[in-house]
Symmetry: C2
Subunit: 399 residues, 2 copies
């Protein structure tokens, strides 16, 4: 088939503007086995409950096989949504009906569809800066702009948010990741959550609370989700099975008012009709039979150890002027060296066989070149130590 296809001119304007995700590109580059990669946002395969999954699959296939293989409802498996509603009530103090939940093909699809239903092309939303690169990709694909608000150790700075709202008074929503944020690992304080909700509610602005990592807290007390404080249905809550079961299922979910869920349902009919019923039945078994509650502490214990390894290696090897966050959960830490340019450093790091994600990938306007995101969950203990040593060397030699 022709490689240099004259049919290229047939592409839409959108297709012309689409850019590869920095992280996806990176994953291709760093597949080489001699590179220690802190780049991907990958769970550790040691955290996957292989034996349990075999049990669950067999049991569900035996009991529900024919339904498990058939087309499912767009909103997801009813018994799964019921189990999640119950879990949310008990564990998260979130009061929702099964009809207020919609399963999505990973949280990515939720982010994409939320952009579609809430914003017209050319409009803008507000987020933390930095923010999750997958959200940037999802919104950019719908030509939606993002205005970033700076963070400190307590999360989004609400005074800065107020200032931003003066210049940008009508954001279509405010997107935040309050727990162990991607990419910074920072957790938003209780006070900030309350203030944020107050600001949004006053102005009738939707908050999208993305919570993929909330279950993975290594220490300290749980902080109530913004959704649990929501009184008027202005918070849309997202979570996923990718970090507490496995990403291969491509199963995320949205909790929102019925009218929002109904719009997402219509969007999903167009985008992919329904999520995988096989994934949904397995997830249902995982939640309802207690597997999930037994697995989460194991994942936490593994990741806490990995986090400790990485932070201790930072302390031991990094030059004194390199700053980093000490996340109390999740998967990432955010490393900053004032005056450095991590985009330029990346090539040097690759030469030293260590990879990270450049900080600029987490800014809609690609500003900030002083930081990088490091994942601490995927690598072996030895690789964490060795990778940090290499990174320290990169900092020392080239900055």
């Amino acid at each position: 088939m022709a490689m240099n296809n004259p049919l290229n001119k047939k592409f839409s304007d959108l297709a012309g503007t689409m850019k590869p995700s920095a992280i996806r590109m990176l994953l291709r580059v760093t597949e080489s086995p001699d590179i220690i990669s802190f780049g991907g946002g990958l769970p550790n395969p040691e955290s996957f409950p292989l034996e349990e999954l075999k049990e669950i699959f067999e049991e569900q296939l035996k009991i529900n096989g024919k339904k498990m293989l058939q087309y499912g409802a767009t909103e997801g498996l009813k018994s799964l949504n019921r189990a999640l509603a119950e879990r949310m009530r008990i564990k998260e103090d979130i009061d929702c009906l099964p009809e207020e939940i919609l399963q999505t093909t990973g949280s990515q699809e939720a982010l994409y569809m939320l952009g579609k239903i809430f914003a017209n092309p050319g409009e803008y939303v507000i987020s933390e800066a930095p923010t999750y690169t997958g959200t940037i990709t999802a919104l950019r694909a719908s030509n939606i702009n993002m205005i970033g608000v700076p963070m400190d150790d307590d999360g989004i700075i609400v005074d800065e948010l107020r200032k931003t709202l003066k210049d940008y008074p009508d954001p279509r929503f405010i997107y935040v990741i309050p727990n162990f944020q991607n990419p910074t690992g920072i957790t938003m304080s209780y006070e900030r959550r309350r203030e944020l909700l107050e600001i949004a509610s006053e102005r009738g602005i939707i908050i999208i609370e993305d919570d993929p990592y909330g279950n993975l807290r290594f220490e300290g007390s749980k902080i109530p989700s913004i959704k649990s404080m929501d009184r008027d249905g202005s918070v849309v809550y997202l979570s996923t099975f990718s970090k507490v079961l496995a990403p291969g299922f491509r199963l995320g979910y949205v909790i929102a008012t019925k009218d929002i869920v109904e719009k997402l349902n219509l969007a999903k009919q167009a985008v992919d009709l329904a999520s995988s019923t096989i994934s949904e039945y397995i997830a249902e078994g995982y939640v309802t039979k207690g597997y999930m509650d037994r697995q989460i502490p194991k994942i936490i214990s593994l990741y806490r150890h990995k986090r400790d390894m990485m932070i201790e290696s930072f302390e031991e090897y990094f030059p004194g002027d390199v700053e980093y966050t000490r996340p109390k959960g999740g998967m990432f830490t955010w490393v900053t060296k004032k005056g450095a340019n991590t985009d330029k450093l990346f090539q040097k790091a690759m030469e030293m066989k260590v990879a990270y994600v450049v900080g600029s990938a987490f800014y809609f306007d690609e500003s900030n070149h002083e930081s990088m995101r490091l994942n601490f969950t995927y690598s072996t203990d030895e690789d964490i130590v060795e990778g940090v040593k290499r990174l320290a060397e990169v900092f020392r030699r080239y900055t």
Copy 2:
């Protein structure tokens, strides 16, 4: 949470125009067990290879467990794409590289993304009329218009297509389902396929050849796919595991030139990042270990029998002026009564406890109210006979 939410005003223009799919609505109505539904496009659960799936799942989990549960590449599992490229070469005479294949979350996602990459909002494409309702839903969600070209027993009427092209000279693509079309069950003749490709190639128009049912031929000889005659990469070929394995996997695939696959890859990064790796590993086992080749004849034999039951029941019970197609494969037949209004008849049919999909659902402009689509694969033999009797009664009493 507030049911009548003032945040409604926050929805995008798109969200305001989204309509529920006629078929999804129907599926909700017809869930009642006393209704015989010929409505859904559901495979028969008897066709699902339950035992084989248990074997494949266990083996893949044992050998590839950790990769099977991890995030996968956006384009899909390399070994699956390799196996499909090989299969396409042998079975379909389609010459493609693994890099020219992209896995999608069901064909629905492919249809949605093809709209995105080839057409700007407000532009138009050409399709058979009637056409698959899922394609209408996918394109409508991107504000893409569809111009329908009439069909006869040999598929799209190419003289009519030429006429249409005079009024609509720049369609972003031509969408067709050549084998056992949904909804009509009609198969496009070899001559029509050649002519269609010629017309499109001359004018530099992309053809999207959707082939979910090609493997399910009950009788007669296979007709070469348009893709197999493609010389300049202008044909995008779609297929799916939904009809030859099971829909619960949500696994379809696109075969196209590398530049088109790369654009789809970028779109998929925004929409859902990647398909289910679990589904992909199971599909890979299904294809490479010979399960698929053993299963397809079983499905064909089951569906041929169901088709025969339905056509024989038509012959026995339908009034003489009711016309219907006699599909040589696939899942659907198209029933027409001149002067009838099947939208209005639907209520009567529901009273008689039998359901179908109204013909107007398969027209972008919702014209044509004389037809209905009947699925023959899902119901039991007894229900096929009884359902046709009831429909015959509806025709007799109310038309």
